[in-house]
């Protein structure tokens, strides 16, 4: 067999456990328990409990420790952004992803090649986490949660203005904002404070716990109160709670609350209707279509692997830029078998 240059898919590929980096014998964001894992951020579809050795940012490790019932790992190692770690033959370092506090892109260097795994990321400004950094690379593994051009996120400041305007329309209705407890909730709080809303904000216990981690990492979110401090007739106070079924949780106990949902999915009206949002706000911690495409343009890598969402449209658009693109799920299925 003729000798040929090593390709990135010869050393990074998909295995049932997750994305596998062979020369370092470790996984990135594995879906099943493995010996060695690099974790991009604390959301439960990326960070799972029970792995042997785990490396992530300190904030991500803090978040995992708080959110997991059982011991999250056997050993862990905190990595500052930019700090190099040698794992087997691979040099690993983390770069900010701008998704939530502690979120990182994983940079892998081996045999003169560099592969960057974006994890979840966004380019919109967000005072609650370090801003996304462009890391030039040979292969960019991108998320594609909002990988259709219909997803173009508006200015979140204007969305919050609409939320605050609801308090004028309904002076006697409490405002329940449904937002994920890690990331979105803190972003909403920061946006409300930036819009000069200085009243106490009432938050569900799970959100309060995460806010405490944010506070330790220097993110001040103003006067936060536990839900049990809410008076019987809360007027138009703002309440933050994770999404729940109608009539359940805190929402079930309030009389006539205004249900606000903050999510990129709210772009499409059928999603807003389906989730019972009376005021859908398009505020997302994921890159929208324009950010996905412009990031690829800015990086101009040799190749893009697309994962985690709607792949087809982003692959097509990347190929139109003259950059090779394919679905991550196709990597390693036979392609890496050539030795």
């Amino acid at each position: 067999m003729a000798a040929r240059a090593m390709r990135p898919e010869d050393w990074v590929r998909v295995r049932p456990e997750g994305l596998y980096v062979e020369p370092g014998n470790f996984f990135v964001d594995p879906g099943r328990v493995v010996e060695t894992a690099i974790i991009t951020h604390g959301h439960s579809d990326h960070a799972r409990a029970g792995n042997g050795r785990v490396a992530a940012t300190q904030a991500t490790l803090d978040i995992m420790t708080q959110r997991m019932n059982r011991k999250p790992w056997r050993d862990c190692q905190a990595l500052a952004y930019g700090e190099r770690l040698q794992v087997g033959d691979v040099t690993v370092w983390l770069a900010p992803a701008g998704h939530v506090l502690g979120s990182a892109q994983v940079v892998l260097e081996y045999a003169g090649q560099r592969v960057v795994i974006s994890g979840d990321y966004k380019r919109q400004s967000d005072p609650t986490c370090a801003a996304f950094e462009l890391v030039p690379c040979d292969v960019f593994v991108t998320e594609a949660t909002f990988g259709l051009p219909v997803f173009q996120h508006p200015d979140p400041g204007y969305e919050v203005t609409r939320l605050l305007h609801s308090r004028e329309i309904y002076p006697n209705r409490s405002v329940v904002v449904h937002a994920y407890s890690l990331g979105k909730a803190q972003r909403m709080l920061a946006l409300l404070r930036a819009a000069d809303y200085q009243r106490p904000i009432y938050v569900a216990p799970i959100i309060l716990g995460v806010c405490e981690i944010y506070r330790k990492h220097g993110i001040d979110l103003g006067d936060l109160r536990a839900l049990d401090q809410l008076e019987n007739n809360p007027g138009s106070e703002i309440i933050l709670a994770p999404p729940s079924k109608p009539g359940e949780g805190i929402v079930g106990k309030l009389r006539d609350p205004l249900i606000v949902m903050a999510s990129g999915w709210m772009t499409v009206r059928k999603h807003a209707r389906g989730r019972g949002a009376e005021l859908p706000l398009v505020i997302s911690d994921h890159a929208d279509w324009n950010e996905l495409v412009s990031t690829i343009q800015d990086l101009a890598p040799e190749e893009v692997w697309v994962t985690h969402g709607r792949e087809d449209a982003l692959i097509l658009q990347t190929q139109r830029l003259g950059i090779k693109a394919r679905a991550l799920s196709a990597i390693g299925n036979g392609a890496g078998a050539e030795q």
Binding site: P149, E168, K270, L316
Partner: protein, 483 residues
């Protein structure tokens, strides 16, 4: 157009009338004139805007948007206008004002309409584009009635709805003197006494607790007619026919308007026969009767009709009763009289826009029918065509939306894919083996249909998975009910 887009977006998600009211009042408080006037005119349907059909929208999309990405996006979003609103390469928005947009649309020539639409889309942000496309596609615009808009205007101006109606009908869009008055910046405009809509007494469904209160000394009972509520107004030398919501429908009912006497406002139900059954009189001989109790108004109505009998206008008779059981018995026989139930009205209270009248409709009937076709709609819902056997052939008797719990829906989808016999575009034909139970309000004769009849207001109740289809096949049971 930001405030307008925000208004339309909020209204479209508001779960009920009281919230829509608050949203409208807030809009009128903040919107500058003449924006607010044009928006009020659009919401009430007072001005007709030119319509851009789906074919023209698709052409615009083809000219300006990437074909593959557009197709994929539309498959995902479902709605054509919404897809274009989301994909169109626009600007941050906020610059175009709704007053200019509406006036340009009114003046647009058919030949330049598409270019105007594209030009507007270019200057709007996503939410504005969506609201704008709803303006020009003429679909279901916003779930508010003309009456709700005027009630909101009345609250904004701290006056009553009748006063708003009166001024409204004496002006044309954008009603600047009206808004100046409501906003405290001007005098009440002089109206010149044009005939205006007077909000009639509203009705609500009767509740169990109401039954204990009903006594014939306190309440009148009448048939609830199967028709459309109309108001006949003859004031200051002009005659108008208004719908329940205050829409001027005189043009469609010119024969009726010719019968209206000067100085009267009559409230009644227009039947399919063209006859009007009258039950209230709000103005007689140019005198406002609304402060008088309903008892008196009915007497006035009766003498009014006796003084000037007209074939097409008749008094809705009172139903004599002593006990609630008598009312139940009337109700059970309502359909024999062309009624859909009975109305119970307090005798001694003056007119008010509150829901004072009680409607006691007959229960829906139930029947079963066999599933013939399924059609997946653009909005993702599934429509089912149900049929019965007439002679040797299966004939459709009605179409219902499959609105079932999630597990029943997935069972239904599985059944359809296993029993599909043919496909015509989005329509799938299935083996006629599945029995559905439906509720309906009546059976209408329909000579041009294969079944000779059609169910009115059919609603799917449940799927009878174990019922054999041949047990319900024959149509004769329904034919007996048809009228």
């Amino acid at each position: 157009m930001r405030a307008h887009a925000d208004l339309v977006d909020r209204l479209s998600h508001a779960p009920d009338k009281s919230y829509r009211h608050a949203i409208l009042v807030d809009y009128f408080r903040h919107a500058p004139s003449p924006d607010c006037g044009w928006v009020a005119a659009v919401l009430t349907g007072e001005i007709g805007l030119p319509r851009v059909g789906p074919a023209a929208l698709k052409r615009l999309a083809a000219e300006r948007l990437d074909e593959t990405l557009f197709t994929w996006s539309r498959d995902y979003v479902g709605d054509l206008g919404e897809t274009i609103a989301l994909l169109w390469p626009g600007l941050p928005g906020g610059d175009l004002c709704i007053a200019d947009v509406v006036q340009e649309l009114i003046e647009a020539e058919k030949s330049t309409l598409s270019a105007l639409v594209a030009n507007c889309l270019d200057k709007l942000d996503t939410r504005e584009r969506w609201a704008f496309l709803r303006l020009v596609t003429g679909g279901p615009r916003v779930p508010v009635s003309a009456l709700e808009v005027k009630q909101a205007l009345a609250e904004f101006g701290g006056t009553d709805t009748s006063a708003v109606e009166e001024v409204w009908h004496s002006l044309t869009p954008p009603y600047e003197p009206l808004f100046a008055w409501l906003g405290g910046r001007g005098e009440k405009p002089r109206t010149g006494g044009l005939p205006v809509f007077h909000p009639p007494v509203a009705a609500r469904p009767i509740e169990e607790s109401d039954l204990n209160l009903i006594e014939s000394s306190e309440y009148f009972a009448e048939w609830k007619w199967d028709g459309a509520r109309v108001q006949l107004v003859g004031l200051n030398g002009a005659r108008r026919v208004f719908s329940r919501e205050g829409d001027d429908i005189t043009a469609a009912h010119s024969e009726l308007s010719a019968l209206i006497l000067e100085g009267t406002v009559l409230d009644g139900e227009l039947l399919a026969s063209g006859e009007v059954r009258l039950f209230d009189i709000l103005v007689a001989e140019a005198r406002d009767l609304r402060p008088e109790p309903y008892d008196n108004r009915r007497s006035r109505l009766q003498s009014h009709l006796e003084a000037d009998p007209v074939l097409k206008l008749s008094l809705s008779p009172l139903l004599a009763y002593t006990t609630v059981d008598d009312l139940k018995s009337y109700r059970s026989r309502a359909s024999e009289y062309g009624a859909i139930g009975i109305m119970v009205k307090p005798r001694h209270v003056p007119w008010s826009p509150r829901e004072d009248w009680l409607a006691w409709n007959i229960d829906d009937r139930r029947t079963s029918a066999v599933l013939l076709y399924c059609e997946r709609m653009r909005n993702g819902t599934l429509e089912l065509t149900l049929g019965r056997l007439r002679g040797n052939a299966l004939a459709p008797v009605g179409r219902v939306r499959a609105d079932l719990p999630e597990d029943e829906m997935s069972k239904l989808h599985d059944w359809i894919s296993e029993n599909r016999t043919d496909r015509f575009g989005p329509v799938q034909q299935v083996r006629p083996d599945l029995v559905c139970e439906v509720a309906f309000s009546a059976v209408d004769t329909a000579t041009r249909r294969k079944a000779g009849l059609v169910l009115r207001n059919p609603k799917l109740l449940r799927i009878l998975w174990d019922m054999p289809a041949d047990a319900v096949m024959d149509i004769s049971e329904l034919t007996g009910l048809a009228r």
